[in-house]
Symmetry: C2
Subunit: 354 residues, 2 copies
């Protein structure tokens, strides 16, 4: 159950930072719907080379796979040029995964990858162990390793993108629960049973309030309801190309509908965190993902909710941080995943950056 089935044949290459890992690197990969991003990391959490290549998500899985292999070989070559070698790969993928088989079950951003044995195929091609985790989990691991989670004991990670992902970091390690195939799904906690519908089929999920989709859908609905929106917004909505960035710009320029959407987003985020803090007896979170760039819009109502709603929490102790590693967090986390799983533990392999 520990995500190792597909690396059983690599025991000879197992190792860890304490076993003479000088010159050893792990590759951390973030496979998104638009780009595959990867980096070469040493055991100290230092990135030595980064690559970005289009993922061509609409093409066949073999094409994405070949792109991935080529990019990894390129990074292996980069490691060799530095007198080192790549000993493992970590993969972060959005969606429902079978991490023990290294297989994508379903990924909204990579629809054609469903059922594709990504980790074992990559392992076979590269001849080094490959580990795989959910994108929100590798975000959390990245911040735990090299970002804002380093000095915190227990905290919640939240990724704000098209959807809302999450993770729970316990003393620097990823909480995996009962290994049910999902964990940390803060986006599908119901914050308001009378709230808006969610893509999952439920109503009132955090994701239905606080995701990029919730922002764009909210603007589209306002327009349909006849609300007077800024001309530019009306134009992009009608052309079908509205993005969360557009909603953010509208809010920045004072549009009350856009502002209301960010208000609702902050309130819902605050409420979900308040509920988890109240149960878990903790008070820290790190928030990342593309939509976290709208920080100044949703942070004030989120903190207002966190300060006033939970009666148990001391408001002065609450610590909510914006990602320190930005879009690189999942790369760091995927590499950290590889380092820790190689180590034979899911425990912390925590190293302070110099």
């Amino acid at each position: 159950m520990r995500g190792v089935r597909h690396r059983l044949s690599f025991s000879a290459q197992k190792g860890g930072r304490d076993k003479g890992m000088a010159g050893a690197y792990c590759i951390g990969i973030d496979i998104g719907g638009t780009y595959i991003k990867m980096g070469l990391f040493d055991a100290q959490g230092q990135g030595h080379a980064f690559r970005r290549t289009p993922s061509n998500a609409s093409g066949p899985p073999e094409t994405l796979f070949e792109t991935l292999v080529r990019a990894c070989r390129d990074l292996k070559e980069a490691a060799r040029r530095q007198g080192g070698r790549v000993i493992a790969v970590g993969l972060g993928v959005a969606g429902k995964l079978d991490t023990s088989l290294g297989r994508v079950v379903f990924s909204p951003n990579l629809p054609h990858m469903a059922g594709f044995p990504l980790a074992p195929r990559l392992q076979e091609a590269l001849e080094i162990p490959v580990f795989m985790e959910n994108d929100a989990n590798v975000f959390g691991l990245g911040e735990a390793w090299a970002g804002l989670g380093r000095h915190r004991r227990h905290w919640i990670g939240v990724t704000l993108g098209t959807g809302v992902g999450g993770c729970f970091i316990v003393e620097g390690s990823l909480w995996l629960g009962d290994h049910l195939g999902f964990v940390g799904e803060i986006g599908h906690m119901i914050v308001d049973p009378h709230g808006p519908p969610c893509a999952c089929g439920q109503v009132g999920c955090l994701e239905a309030h606080a995701s990029g989709s919730a922002l764009t859908r909210g603007m589209i609905e306002a327009l349909k309801a006849g609300a007077p929106l800024p001309e530019e917004i009306e134009h992009v909505v009608r052309s079908g190309s509205l993005t969360p960035e557009d909603v953010y710009r509208a809010a920045e320029s004072g549009d009350p509908h856009a502002r209301q959407l960010f208000q609702r987003m902050g309130w819902a985020l605050g409420l979900a965190l308040a509920n988890l803090f109240t149960f878990l007896g903790i008070q820290s979170a790190v928030i990342g993902g593309g939509v976290s760039q709208a920080w100044d819009q949703f942070y004030p109502p989120m903190m207002e909710t966190l300060r006033t709603v939970p009666k148990m929490l001391d408001p002065s102790g609450i610590q909510i941080y914006r990602t320190a590693l930005g879009p690189l967090a999942p790369l760091y986390g995927a590499a950290y995943l590889a380092w820790t799983r190689l180590d034979g533990s899911e425990g912390p392999l925590r190293v302070e950056k110099p």
Copy 2:
């Protein structure tokens, strides 16, 4: 931070089940607003003597304290008669506690105990270490030691009484979070931000839907609103003596208002558990406390909610159990607390009952 400050002077008496603990017992105590209940337990989780005495909660704290000391000495004597000795005491108390100082900060059932240094005073009087925890936490420890939690990895404990308490058991141990002075407070997670007011000052907490108070308040409000209630209920409401048992009996005999209150209770419990299961990636809970005796009324709507609401969970895997130890669970848990803290760890001291 590990709740041991007041036992530093007892290191000579420290020990554990592996250190020749034959004939050694711990006393587990549940201090409620009506009764003080206690039991004498060996390291195998076997209860050897039980006592119950009125707590006289309306009297001065010294009176309660003296009652407690007398009852403990009585159990120490019982242990001696069996050729053994009592080596530690565990206390379960409802309310906000400073467990590191062994002090009651505020307890709704024991208003006069606020600020009273219960654990250190008892320790001084009995000359053995005394440990203290929240009543919902000792409930969970009891079930983890000798009840339904024994064979489960990660699970949520819920106590249904005048209020709603909770705990989180991680591999047989109590989750303590960041030691903020509260943890597991499922009763103050907000399940419906448009819901009924809660005693804590917030609206829509689980406790405002699923506690004994929520049941009686719901009936009183129905009567005020002019609802046609059964004559017996109307009588007890008007006499100011309505209990959750009365509401249960009304539901049993088919009163639609009482049934509706249990429906709401089950729905809210299901929703709070669904949200926690979705985030924690777990699927088990054990429910106790006096109001859990209304199981047949709230279990069906709770399970209906758990089966249909969380889109991540496989309904067939969900395991919700009714307490195996009933009103004795907190006694077992308080004794287990003493055994594990004596052991120097908060980790599992898990023994299978014969």
